[in-house]
Symmetry: C2
Subunit: 257 residues, 2 copies
């Protein structure tokens, strides 16, 4: 439970680990991770940092198209995206898919499983990705001992609720063009935060997945992209998007045409 023991490397947990992943375990070092400020509390004492690092006892690679977990799978861990891009979605009785979110580096996945002991949604990698595996029992144990971590965990859960409020606002009271503009600006901000260009990025999801997330049909999303381009707001080439006039894009949200 404390130091990284060689025993673990020899007897990999079948569920979480395969050979290449075991090797990566030894590189776990949250203190020097450049996504640290996104998943961890600030100003952790060094000895606490040590304990926190032990929560992440594995990394896991997920290739494009593969599931990190599926709805109904037994809930054991939450995941921090280390690199890559995921979608989460739920499916209703009719087989209709609703994409509930997109997740990138430093964001946490799987917290919907605590309540029932099973993941409520599926998490699918939209590009080759890597995550830190944090067994939830361990998270809870250490949260009991390090109040800053406990507080951080609660904050993360709470922020997920707030994020979903934003989606409800988007789905419940915005017009199609506002939805897309909101999404693009949000994505842009998240890229900036991670040191990427604000106005030039590659969409990892299909028009259909984006449409599902925004409560629109894929044709509508496509038409909106075309119209935004005509109007000089964007430059769109398939999945590559350049924001050309972010001011006017923001103005879309502010109600002024």
């Amino acid at each position: 439970m404390h130091a990284v023991t060689p025993t673990r490397a020899k007897a990999p947990r079948a569920i979480f680990l395969s050979a290449p992943e075991v090797a990566r375990r030894f590189e776990v070092n949250c203190a020097s991770c450049n996504l640290r400020e996104l998943c961890l509390p600030q100003g952790l004492a060094p000895e606490d940092m040590q304990r926190v690092e032990n929560i992440v006892y594995a990394r896991r690679r997920v290739r494009r198209g593969e599931a990190l977990f599926n709805a109904g799978d037994e809930f054991k861990a939450i995941y921090a995206v280390r690199c890559g891009f995921f979608k989460t979605s739920v499916v209703d009785g009719e087989g209709r898919e609703q994409v509930t979110g997109f997740f990138m580096g430093g964001e946490l996945l799987g917290m919907d499983g605590v309540g029932s002991g099973r993941y409520h949604c599926s998490a699918i990698a939209l590009e080759d990705s890597e995550v830190c595996v944090m067994p939830f029992a361990l998270v809870e144990e250490i949260a009991r001992e390090i109040p800053a971590l406990q507080r951080n965990l609660h904050a993360v859960l709470s922020r997920e609720i707030v994020r979903e409020h934003g989606v409800m606002m988007l789905l419940g009271s915005m017009r199609a063009e506002e939805r897309l503009a909101t999404f693009l600006l949000n994505l842009s901000r998240r890229f900036v935060r991670r040191g990427y260009a604000a106005n030039d990025f590659h969409l990892r999801m299909t028009r259909e997945e984006l449409g599902s997330y925004l409560g629109l049909k894929l044709e509508t999303v496509s038409r909106l992209f075309s119209r935004f381009q005509e109007e000089g707001l964007l430059e769109v080439n398939q999945k590559h998007v350049s924001i050309r006039d972010s001011a006017r894009l923001e103005a879309l949200l502010a109600g002024r045409a």
Copy 2:
């Protein structure tokens, strides 16, 4: 759902008072509260139950139309609805209101405030109501000492996330009539759980509030009620609704007309 009036000092009081005094005065007794199973973990040892009861160190009455808290207020506590009915909502830049949920006895409010230290939404009583005030610092402290409570807190937060996934599904991929049917059946189930009639209830919200929650205009909600009545699914008189054919109402969701 009518208030069981507790012995209560007549003078209105500030929310936060010295804990022991208020606790005694209100005879807080979670162990015998009939909503216990909704807010508390099961099978708590008696001595733990004692500690948990001390979390609730005040009750607060909120009259119809009043706010339990407003978006932007400093986050100090979460609330368990003891009796009554609330809506939560957020307002965007344009002043558009989005109702994010309706809450009744045994359900928890205010968890969206942990992340930022301020409540992200407003909670308005839709009828005279009463809540248990649980200072969050105290919740966290005791959660560190009683794993069952910690686990329960996480489960409650997680379930709120799952609930919102359901709303996203509703808003993102259901037609108007499916949204209303889903809402009514959900409300019915929650009433049943609390010992009320499944098929006969009083809506506490206006058509406009319901429309906001469902992503519809109030006129559309009104028309749907009329149509459901014509079709023999419901009996509607203003805010009073009787479900007449719950099978067919459920069939609406299952896609078969």
